[in-house]
């Protein structure tokens, strides 16, 4: 019995630390900023253990039965904690509260265990032996857990499965104790039933771990979700896998840090390098600051106005150190003015006294619904006209001419119907596919032959090639996208829904 109790100290210590590590890791996955997450989780956990130790003094009767009960409870709550946190990440208003609540409960339960054990064993050992043995096992368990966790559990089992597995260990210890009791006790039967039930739940959870993971949102994305926020306008998710940072808006990929330079260089330089000394720039959308990063490579640029609907986007990309590195801190440029407004309404307001921009970059989400479709309409392009001079250039990201050929040419044809001359082109961006852009101008556009030094994708040859379309992406006649008849939305929906990878 003594030996058994000492082994249970080891198991308790291991499991306890595993739960703590799982909570810390989950918090850094889901909430980002691992330093803060780990340190607050550890602090909360240790403090909760303190509460548990203090509370243990209130227990007087039948210590062994109490210990077994706690053990079963730890198994149940700790074991299912990862699954609960994963599943509820998206559902509960205050995920942090749930996180710290679960950590506190586990901490209190684990905190009760050791003092109770000490008291159970106090008559069987001398005090100094008792303390030394219990704490030796406790610390060995901690070391064991801390090595096992990163090397075996996370890579091979995953968080949810690991957590269920350690829950079963807790319960198995309880069962083992129950079965090794010599003298029959009246309370044992009920405890066995309870332990059995919890064991079934945990085993079921262990088996269904994959299902649970796939139910949780974070699995919809490649890599770990390091930032997630629902704003009134959209759901912003940033994920990270090794060096690949990705942004998703409403589950649609906006960029992958692996190849976004291709997308943004192709968006910016054919326009910027074609202008003599572009001074006054407008960006519509592009709250990630990545197009801006490219624009700021031109010393002639004096003022950039960035109109993005969602303050959460510009805030995120101007505050997260990782994302600031990605956009080279462009959102803190003194040349920049951020306007968090609806682009259509903002352009409409400028109508009375329109500023003239040398270059306009329209980097909006794809036209996948009627709301966003308004920003691809003749009415919107009419307003665009009013902020462009005779030599100004605008460029519009226009979805994939390969996957959505009609959609792409519909954007082109709508710009023409709005009185612009157009120069359509495309570039290969692996994360997206073969991607399309359209330059709109009042005078014929010529592809520049000179580009800033240090670009990774665009040079004179690449740029020239971008403007030719192979037959399977070539021009087609389409309807025009108008506010009263959003043909583009129907093209887009039809074409992308046929494309399975989407």
């Amino acid at each position: 019995m003594q030996r058994l109790l000492l082994i249970s100290v080891f198991v308790i210590a291991t499991c306890g630390l595993i739960y703590e590590l799982i909570a810390g890791t989950l918090a850094s996955y889901l909430l980002g900023d691992s330093i803060t997450q780990f340190s607050t989780i550890i602090g909360t956990y240790l403090f909760a253990m303190g509460i548990g130790s203090w509370a243990s003094a209130k227990v007087d009767k039948n210590l062994l039965a109490f210990f077994i009960r706690i053990e079963i409870l730890v198994g149940l709550i700790g074991g299912s904690s990862a699954a609960i946190l994963f599943l509820l990440f998206d559902q509960v208003a205050s995920f942090r509260f749930l996180l710290y609540f679960i950590v506190t409960v586990i901490g209190i339960l684990v905190g009760i265990e050791i003092p109770i054990l000490l008291r159970i064993l106090k008559d069987r050992y001398e005090f100094k032996d008792l303390v030394s043995r219990v704490f030796t096992f406790d610390y060995i368990g901690a070391l064991f857990a801390s090595i096992l966790f990163p090397l075996v559990l996370v890579p091979h089992l995953g968080l949810i499965r690991s957590s269920f597995m350690f829950g079963t260990f807790n319960v198995l210890v309880a069962l083992w104790l129950l079965y090794s009791l010599k003298e029959p006790q009246p309370w044992v039967r009920l405890h066995k039933i309870a332990a059995g039930l919890v064991l079934i739940i945990l085993t079921f959870g262990f088996i269904s771990s994959d299902k649970i993971t796939s139910l949780s949102e974070s699995n919809n994305f490649a890599g770990h979700v390091i930032f997630a926020k629902s704003t009134p306008y959209q759901r912003i998710i940033v994920t990270r896998q090794q060096n690949d940072i990705r942004l998703y808006l409403n589950s649609n990929l906006q960029f992958s840090s692996q190849d976004e330079y291709r997308y943004h260089e192709a968006l910016v330089h054919p326009v910027m390098s074609a202008l003599k000394a572009p001074k006054n720039i407008l960006i519509i959308g592009g709250g990630d600051g990545l197009a801006l990063r490219e624009i700021l490579k031109y010393p002639s640029v004096g003022h950039v106005t960035l109109v993005d609907l969602d303050p959460a986007m510009t805030k995120l990309f101007s505050s997260s150190p990782m994302l600031r590195k990605l956009n080279t801190d462009s959102l803190h440029s003194p040349k920049l003015k951020i306007v968090n407004a609806d682009a259509f309404m903002w352009l409409k307001q400028q109508r009375a006294n329109p500023p003239i921009f040398d270059a306009v970059f329209i980097d909006l989400p794809d036209p996948s619904n009627f709301s966003i479709g308004k920003l691809y309409s003749t009415a919107f392009y009419g307003l665009l006209h009013s902020v462009m001079g005779p030599d100004s250039l605008a460029v519009i990201q226009s979805t994939s001419p390969l996957v959505a050929r009609q959609s792409f040419w519909c954007v082109n044809n709508t710009l023409r119907a709005s009185g612009f001359q157009t120069a359509p082109y495309h570039a290969l961006v692996p994360a997206f596919g073969d991607w399309g852009y359209v330059i709109a101008s009042n005078r014929p556009y010529t592809v520049p032959t000179q580009y800033p030094a240090g670009l990774r994708f665009i040079d004179a040859d690449t740029a020239r090639d971008m403007f030719s379309f192979p037959p399977d992406m070539g021009p087609v006649a389409t309807k025009i996208q108008r506010l009263d008849d959003q043909a583009l939305i129907h093209y887009f929906d039809e074409e992308w829904s046929k494309y399975l990878i989407y």
């Binding site: 009134p232 306008y233 609907l309 609806d342 682009a343 259509f344 309404m345 409409k348 619904n369 009627f370 709301s371 966003i372 479709g373 308004k374 920003l375 003749t378 009415a379 919107f380 009419g382 108008r482 506010l483 009263d484 008849d485 959003q486 939305i489 929906d493």
Partner: protein, 530 residues
């Protein structure tokens, strides 16, 4: 946008949920505190006073060239056109505290919104006389290849309509889900039939179904349609499809507040075949709308007249005397008398008949309507089709709702106002009117909110404010025999020095009719004065 299997499964689940939201579930979702709001509008205390008829003797309050009783679209049109023609000594007497009549609108911090009329179609071939007005108001901005160019801000944005059916939304109002091939064939045939009616002309060279209605052909065969109900005409023409009947019934309730088994087939077909307008820059079936609905037109018409509109003025008697026509009104405190050389009665005929017994017109019956404006903290959602301007719920007693912020090009307004329309067609008008008048604000709230939550469970807790407007006599009812029958023909005769102008004289309540009657009355008054 074909539904996937999963959408369909989800859909039927949602439908079951909706069906479950009977009185039982209402208790679960009903707001803890009633949502702020009230029954507003239509000065019923004044109306009551008119029926009782006891007014103190009037004080003489002056003389004008023309007095117009009522400032709905017809009254405003008359005044606007008189004013433009140089007859400026006019007064409009209006019992409400605002002009506009059935084209009245409201506004709050979120949006302007309609209380009644909310759109007009492109102008029909017979509406040349309204073109000038639309040009003045910036609604028509030019001409291209012989067709008018309409202001893009006012052309209804896409998506125009969606239908809630079997737990999910679909684009368009003709059901496409779960209908048979035979239904589809009948849809096609019916729509082609209506298109043919749209261009067909009678022996007199006029269209069979024109707007204004009195420009229509006098061919007897076409006018005979006025003696059938729409439903019977459909059956006799071989249209048996249940969803097609549902669609047509909806159209009749929507435009006239009369069910298709009660309305004249002439009126029912007129709804589909009358609107033949074309534009250079939008499809022929487009309509024009504004956040405040036809309140936009009412405000524009009223703008040059504002100092000549006397509101809160209940006219209770109009009489021809040797010194001119006397118009007696009650301003809430005092009875007053104005005298004029000519008077235009631009109040509905059932009221005109009370003010001046000669104008009594017994054949005129009116449909009661209820309109509710709900301010939402969140846009309505729904699977299957994006939020549209007109959102129709199949098999609902209401017509569904219109979204006030739809014309605002903002990508995603975060809040909005929706306007629910409900023609009370379940009972005879008098009975339905009585039942409606007896309902409290809380009753209406329960009715509208359970209707809303059934379809939009996501809006529980998101309704910030709700007002209800009861139109006791909203629209003239074109029941069989009314449009081409005796009483209406008699009502069209003008009897100088008292003239009449109201949409009910057409048998169909639409802007073009109201405006045309106002314009014609103005012309007749000028001729009379000269």
């Amino acid at each position: 946008m074909k539904p996937t299997r999963r959408q369909l499964l989800y859909g039927s689940g949602a439908a079951a949920l909706g069906a479950a939201l009977s009185p039982f579930a209402w208790d679960a979702v009903k707001p803890k505190k009633p949502i702020p709001g009230a029954i507003v509008g239509a000065n019923s205390a004044f109306g009551h006073r008119l029926r009782e008829g006891a007014f103190p003797p009037p004080i003489d309050s002056g003389q004008h060239e023309v007095i117009i009783v009522g400032s709905g679209i017809a009254g405003l049109s008359a005044a606007y056109n008189l004013d433009k023609a140089g007859v400026t000594d006019i007064r409009l007497l209006e019992l409400e505290d605002h002009s506009g009549g059935n084209a009245h609108s409201g506004h709050n911090a979120v949006s302007a919104y309609p209380w009644g009329a909310h759109y007009v179609p492109l102008l029909s071939s017979e509406s040349g006389h309204i073109k000038e007005l639309f040009r003045d108001f910036g609604i028509i901005t030019g001409e291209d290849k012989g067709l008018p160019v309409y202001n893009e801000d006012y052309i209804l944005n896409d998506p125009d309509e969606r239908l809630f059916i079997d737990g999910r939304w679909q684009e368009g109002l003709l059901p496409t889900l779960g209908v048979t091939a035979e239904d589809q064939v009948q849809y096609k045939r019916f729509l082609a039939h209506m298109e043919a009616f749209k261009i067909e002309r009678g022996r007199d060279g006029r269209r069979l179904f024109a707007i204004p209605i009195d420009e229509s052909s006098a061919d007897a065969e076409t006018r005979a349609l006025d003696r059938l109900t729409m439903k019977n005409w459909m059956l006799s023409a071989g249209y048996t499809s249940e969803p097609l009947h549902g669609f047509v019934d909806y159209g009749c309730r929507d435009d006239f507040g009369v069910r298709h088994d009660e309305i004249s087939a002439y009126a029912g077909i007129h709804y589909f075949a009358g609107r033949d307008g074309k534009a250079a820059n939008t499809a022929p079936d487009s309509v024009l709308t504004w956040p405040e609905g036809n309140g936009f037109l009412a405000h524009k018409l009223a703008a040059p007249l504002s100092n000549r509109i006397i509101s809160g003025a209940l006219v209770y008697s109009v009489r021809e005397t040797s010194g001119g026509v006397t118009v007696d009104y009650w301003d809430g405190h005092t009875s007053r008398r104005l005298t004029a050389r000519a008077v235009i009665m631009a109040a509905p005929r059932f009221i005109a008949g009370r003010l001046m017994p000669e104008l009594a017109a017994p054949g005129f019956t009116y449909a009661p309507w209820v309109v509710a404006n709900l301010t939402l903290d969140k846009l309505p959602e729904g699977r299957g089709a994006d939020l549209a301007w007109d959102n129709v719920i199949k098999d609902s007693p209401t017509l569904g709702y219109v979204v006030a912020t739809h014309q605002i090009p903002q990508m995603q307004p975060l809040r909005t106002v929706i306007t629910y329309y409900w023609p009370l067609t379940h009972a005879a008008p008098a009975e339905a009117r009585k039942e409606a008048l007896a309902r409290s604000y809380e009753d209406w709230q329960r009715l509208f909110l359970s209707e809303l939550y059934r379809v939009h469970p996501e809006l529980v807790g998101q309704v910030r404010h709700m007002d209800v407007w009861l139109w006791g006599h909203a629209m003239i009812r074109p029941v069989p025999g009314f449009i081409w029958g005796e009483p209406r023909q008699a009502a069209l005769k003008q009897t100088p020095p008292v003239f009449t102008a109201h949409s009910d004289m057409s048998g169909i309540s639409i802007f073009e009719e109201a405006y045309t009657h106002g314009l014609k009355a103005a012309q007749a008054v000028r001729a009379f004065l000269a």
